[in-house]
Point group: C2
Chain length 135, copies 2
DNA sequence: TTGAAGATGAGAATGATTCCCATGAAGATT
DNA sequence: AATCTTCATGGGAATCATTCTCATCTTCAA
């Protein structure tokens, strides 16, 4: 039998480095297009498709977090390691990482109770931060 | 000053009735396109745009629940009233409604703690149900 | 240095959702 | 019931984020 293809470790390229840096510099979440725009504005010539591909890759390995915004777009951000969720300001994008240990426990309990396996969950909070509240 | 436009109560039309019924009959969540397909298959001549518009309206009034699937599409379902979340089977679509009182409390606490206002959250669980597990 | 496996970029293609607008119905008013 | 105003409908075009294609570079192991 042939062995199952294992994803080779990604190659180190200038583009990948630039993209990684762009995501690290930014505050809050940004979409592939927004990141690409900023890179372009800063003189980079990286292609949009490459930004999409690379961000997906980084998200797959957990190097960056990906969420789906309420309007359906995917947004990325460099986050602290480990499982956590986000409290995001709808108007300015300010993001606070939050972890809810008791929730994680209940999720496992509920899943087991219902006989569900391999349960994943995505939880994001959207609100208005103090700053934006007075405006 | 002019009064702010208030959304007039929607008119009762054959299409709206058909769509409402289609959503009620279905099990689990379905996208506008899936619902439209099924209606078409059952002899209805309702237009796709109308299905999209109507489902959005029903979701806005809370008459149906709308969620965004992991792959980005919007799916609808008739649910029991009140705030709750869903445990959804990735392969067969079977859906279980769950409510997590302690989570709701912590959300309010976290929001207040961080000074965020008008915080909303969406939480859905995706897993494999017992049935689909043995297959 | 070479070559094979990958990565890139430009533009085309996709696909869900929204828009547009001419036409058809709902419902309030005579 | 006839009329009128307003909203709803539908079908096809338009959007727009994301993915795909593929010819052309790069990386990196040998
Ligand atoms: Mn985070
Ligand atoms: Mn429900
Ligand atoms: Zn803010
Ligand atoms: Zn199942």
């Amino acid at each position: 039998m042939t062995s199952i293809e294992r994803p080779a470790s990604p190659r180190h390229t200038r583009q990948r480095a630039e993209i990684r840096q762009a995501v690290e510099e930014q505050e809050g979440f940004a979409t592939a297009q927004e990141i690409h725009d900023r890179m372009r504005h800063d003189g980079s010539g990286v292609g949009l498709a490459t930004v999409y591909r690379t961000l997906q890759g980084l998200a797959a390995t957990g190097e960056v977090d990906a969420i789906r915004t309420p309007d359906g777009q995917v947004a990325y951000r460099t986050c602290s390691p480990g499982h956590h969720h986000h409290l995001i300001c709808r108007s300015c994008g300010r993001t606070v990482e939050v972890s809810i240990p008791s929730l994680e426990a209940q999720v496992r309990a509920l899943a087991a109770e219902q006989g569900f396996a391999e349960v994943e969950h995505a939880l994001e909070f959207y609100g208005t931060c103090t700053e934006c509240a007075r405006a």
